[in-house]
């Protein structure tokens, strides 16, 4: 076939192979296999994505991830927005933990324009606070959500309620419930309201209680154990091969945490140790996330104790309407609840970015890894595997 955009047919004979195939060749006409689609209209999938599954009986023999249902073309849209305008747009790239996007786009622009040194101390602490709160609300959905995939709905009921309390705190701090739009290039958009710390502490106490309850409910649950242990094992060798990051990698015994490896903000001033496990199965991943839940609560307490009371919230920056950033490129990463979350940012000296490219953990987890991992799995476990990899489709297609 002549490529429309190349205008010629590439000479494939000079290449080592014809187009390599991924996955098994399945002959559906043999009547031995059946093809089923999971999603996009399916309550169990994580977000609006689809899995195309070839099954033999109950066993998946081949899987394909289909994304694009949530594609909005952020990277294109941000290319035609001013630097400050890009930040409300970028937030929508991941609804589960939007603050991470805010932080990335703010930090990229600050680094390239040389204002990263001028971000006030108070603003950095507030950024940390909002990032950890975002992680907490993500985990409050994610940890019981894993139980939800095995039809354990009670934990979800608890978790979503507690997440809502954190969203209430977010609302007080940032003015937004889900999309906070709080971390702006140069700083943040507000100090802590009066009495915020006390109210957050109250919520954290409730979450402490929840952590114990969910442990009894899920991790000491015969059904959960039976189904999750040994399911979807990721070996340490697979981690680099597939680009696995975050809690998923840590559950396989590979200790990767951007907060420790490449400390940003004031994470080097906090006392914490990323939890790990060695089994690498769904149970281990959930267990690591549960431990991380404890750790996040602890981190929030540490941040509240260490942060100053008052201070400037934004650096003195040029007029946002004409803000130009000299030509340059950078990659900024942070540790989101799902793992390494990064942004490649290229500027060309104009008032708009040349290219913004997001690297979400789901990009590798949700396509290459998930497709390989589903082979041999039971159809009933597909959701559990998807949730355990924390796939978030908007991160893949953006």
């Amino acid at each position: 076939m002549i490529n429309k955009f190349l205008g010629f047919e590439p000479d494939e004979s000079k290449l080592p192979s014809k187009r390599a195939k991924i996955g098994a060749e399945i002959d559906l006409s043999s009547q031995k296999y059946q093809k089923i689609w999971l999603g996009p209209n399916h309550p169990g999938v994580t977000g609006n994505m689809a899995m195309e599954l070839w099954v033999e009986g109950n066993t998946v023999v081949k899987a394909k991830t289909h994304v694009g249902y949530l594609h909005r073309g952020f990277e294109k849209l941000i290319e035609r927005r001013l630097y400050v305008q890009g930040f409300p747009t970028s937030i929508r790239m991941c609804v589960a933990e939007p603050d991470t996007n805010e932080y990335l786009i703010a930090t990229c622009t600050e680094q390239l324009s040389g204002y990263d040194k001028e971000v006030p101390e108070m603003a950095k602490w507030l950024r940390m606070l909002s990032l950890e709160m975002a992680r907490l609300q993500g985990l409050l959905r994610g940890v019981p959500g894993q139980g939800g995939t095995f039809a354990l709905g009670l934990g979800v009921q608890w978790g979503v309620y507690l997440r809502d309390l954190i969203l209430d705190r977010f609302e007080e701090l940032t003015g937004g419930r889900v999309y906070h739009m709080y971390i702006i290039p140069g700083g943040v958009r507000g100090l802590l309201p009066d009495g915020f710390k006390a109210r957050l502490e109250d919520n954290l106490k409730e979450i402490d209680d929840f952590i114990v309850r969910i442990k009894k409910l899920m991790f000491h649950n015969a059904v959960f154990k039976k189904r999750a242990i040994g399911l979807g094992v990721i070996t340490p060798e697979m981690v680099d091969k597939y680009g696995i990051v975050g809690t998923t990698a840590r559950a396989s015994g590979v200790k990767r945490d951007v907060r420790k490896d490449d400390p940003y903000l004031y994470y080097d001033q906090l006392d914490f140790d990323p939890p790990t496990d060695t089994d690498g199965d769904v149970y281990a991943r959930t267990w690591v996330r549960w431990q991380e839940l404890i750790q996040t609560v602890d981190l929030l307490r540490q941040i509240m104790a260490k942060m100053p009371e008052k201070g400037d919230i934004r650096a003195n920056m040029p007029n946002v309407l004409h803000w130009r950033i000299p030509k340059g490129e950078t990659y900024v990463r942070l540790e989101s609840g799902r793992g390494e979350y990064g942004m490649y940012y290229v500027t060309d000296g104009s008032d708009k970015p040349r290219r913004v490219n997001l690297r979400g953990p789901s990009y590798t987890h949700g396509v290459a890894l998930l497709e390989d991992m589903l082979v041999g799995a039971d159809v009933a476990d597909v959701h559990a595997l998807m949730v355990s990899l924390q796939t978030c489709p908007p991160e893949i297609e953006r």
């Binding site: 747009t89 701090l173 309201p193 946002v320």
Partner: protein, 597 residues
């Protein structure tokens, strides 16, 4: 797997006795005090600058006219209209709002069946959430989307500048100019207020982009005297600047000067593309080489007409040269602008006084005549003693200082007047006093109080820095003369200068008196035109408006069709008005000449 794993999950039943967490009435739940809900706008404070529209990444905001809100200087009369089919409630519009009039309330419920309803003008269209006090406002502290403070202009200190006539405002460096230009929000409110309607946001943009050629082109589109205007313009634009509503206004004048200063005079022809100008056979006479005359000459010669300027004094520039002291406007800068205009083929006849006879000759020899002779007669206070020989008119003194003539500089001087001219003469005399006696003893008094004084604020401050005493709010009563020598000025307290109708009608408190000692009194309370050169028969044909000024069309045509008038004699003393008049008159003359064919 053991029995424990089967039993432990049942501990969740303990929750059965807990209170439910359900919100009883979710519909009446309020948003947080900082919640970004629906918009509200204080239409009274809003000036319709459109910065909210500029920053909106979703193109959700339109600026639309609103009934009952008049367009006036500093208020476009437009108000933002928001499309909730676009808004993402990021509140960038609130954060950048130059007047802090826009805010978001914490209301968030709006359900409708018609998608076309989701557009409204906050603060104008009736919505029930305006009464909510809580909601998102611009964050505190030190949170600004554009720098609030003006880049400081380097000036000579009062000590250095006080005894010389060299220019004391140094002008911006490139970094400073770009930094200052960066503060502009490009709203364009200033354009309507500037009498010449200069493309202010555009030339500021040129400064930002460091494109001086483009900047100069934009300047010359509406103003052929940028060096002069960049120094002494009354900058009405800065008084309406939207950035100045909360913060310092943009220093538009200094940025204009920056552009003109950057381009050497030799490059003007090339940049402005005026190396070759086509000339037709039409001839226009201009009387008076002041700002209006020069401006008219520039645009007329660009339009291809032959222009001759008649000037009474020996150098062109009019009041700009003879009225404004050199420390504010150096003569070489006047020459730079004027020489460029003259180089376009404009003929200048200096030392040529136009009288009645000459005027009639001009009428015969030229196709059109533009009079812009300015206000060169000083007004007198006419108080007892004001006819003494040591009572001077500031205009006369300034002219003499420029011409280098010797003038009387006694040890103690009293100046009457609160305008810029009063400040000019005060500061000029202060310099001369310092040079002569090493100290300054000059008192300037005016009818208007400190706040009402028409002089620019910085002029007053600088005059004080240079040692002059400014004591406003006093009405001159009598000049005390003993043995034929002036001893000083008796004044009484002024209660108010203007009545309720804003008419000049001063009221005095005769009980509060003061005496200003001085050997010489300078009157600087206004100027009047000298139009004696216009022949009687023509003068009779000319219609006059209020205050005896000639009535002119929008293109400065008088009721005598070949006669155009402009500048101070028509609009009152102001350089930029004069320039604007010259431009308009040029267009008018061109139209007139073309219609005559």
């Amino acid at each position: 797997m053991n029995l424990k794993d089967i039993l432990t999950p049942f501990t969740a039943w303990s929750r059965v006795v807990k209170d439910p967490v359900t919100i009883k009435d979710p519909l009446s739940r309020e948003g947080a005090p900082r919640y970004r809900g629906f918009h509200d706008n204080d239409v009274e404070t809003c000036i319709g600058c459109g910065t909210c529209e500029a920053i909106c990444e979703n193109e959700a905001i339109d600026l639309v006219p609103v009934e009952g809100i008049e367009t006036k200087d500093g208020d476009s009369g437009l108000r933002p209209k928001i499309d909730y089919g676009r808004c993402c409630w990021c509140a960038l519009c609130v954060d950048i709002c130059t007047t802090n009039s826009l805010r978001l309330t914490n209301e968030f419920k709006w359900v409708d069946t018609d998608p076309d309803n989701f557009r409204f003008i906050p603060g104008v269209d009736e919505k029930d959430w305006y009464k909510k006090e809580e909601g998102w406002r611009k964050p505190e502290p030190n949170y600004h989307f554009y720098p609030q403070e003006r880049v400081k202009m380097e000036e000579l200190g009062p000590e250095e500048r006080g005894d010389s006539f060299i220019e004391f405002v140094k002008g911006y460096s490139k970094e400073q100019a770009q930094q200052e230009a960066d503060r502009c929000v490009e709203c364009g409110i200033c354009i309507g207020t500037c009498p010449a309607h200069m493309g202010i946001p555009e030339y500021i943009k040129a400064v930002r982009n460091d494109d001086m050629e483009e900047g100069l082109k934009i300047l010359y589109e509406t103003n052929p005297l940028p060096e002069i205007c960049g120094r002494i313009c009354t900058h009405k634009c800065e008084t309406v600047c939207s950035v100045g509503v909360n913060g310092d206004p943009l220093s538009i004048r200094w940025l204009k000067r920056y552009i003109a200063d950057q381009v050497p005079a030799e490059q003007y022809h090339e940049i402005l593309d005026t190396k070759k100008i086509y000339k037709d056979d039409k001839k226009v006479a201009i009387i008076g080489a002041g700002p209006a005359g020069l401006s008219a000459a520039y645009y007329l010669s660009l339009l291809g007409h032959n222009v001759t300027i008649f000037e009474k004094l020996d150098k062109p520039g009019g009041m700009m040269r003879y009225g404004i002291p050199e420390y504010r406007l150096p003569y070489d800068q006047i020459d730079k602008d004027v020489n460029y205009i003259l180089s376009l083929g404009v003929e200048l006849k200096t030392n040529t006084t136009v009288d009645e006879e000459m005027f009639k000759k001009l009428q015969k020899d030229y196709d059109a005549v533009f009079v812009s002779t300015g206000l060169h007669l000083g007004r007198s206070t006419r108080i007892p003693g004001s006819d003494h020989e040591h009572v001077f008119q500031s205009i006369d003194l300034l002219r003499k200082i420029t011409a280098g003539e010797e003038i009387m500089v006694p040890e103690k001087i009293v100046v009457i007047g609160g305008g810029n001219v009063a400040m000019d003469i005060t500061r000029s005399l202060a310099r001369l006093q310092r040079a002569k006696y090493g100290k300054v003893q000059i008192i300037t008094t005016s009818l208007e109080s400190e706040e009402e004084m028409p002089a620019d604020r910085e002029e007053v401050v600088e005059a004080r820095e240079e040692g002059a005493t400014i004591d406003p709010g006093w009405g001159p009563k009598e000049i005390e003369i003993v043995d034929g020598k002036i001893k000083g000025l008796h004044v009484v307290k002024v209660l108010s200068v203007f009545d309720e109708d804003h008419r000049f009608n001063p009221k005095f408190d005769e009980n509060q008196k003061k005496f200003f000692e001085g050997d010489m009194i300078v009157e600087s309370i206004g100027q009047a035109p000298d139009l004696s050169y216009i022949p009687k028969e023509i003068d009779e044909q000319l219609e006059r408006g209020p205050r005896g000024r000639y009535l002119i069309s929008e293109y400065n045509q008088t009721s005598v069709e070949w006669l155009f008038a402009g500048g101070d004699i028509v609009v009152g003393p102001d350089v930029i008005h004069g320039i604007a008049d010259g431009h308009k008159a040029a267009v008018g003359i061109d139209n007139y000449l073309n219609s005559k064919k």
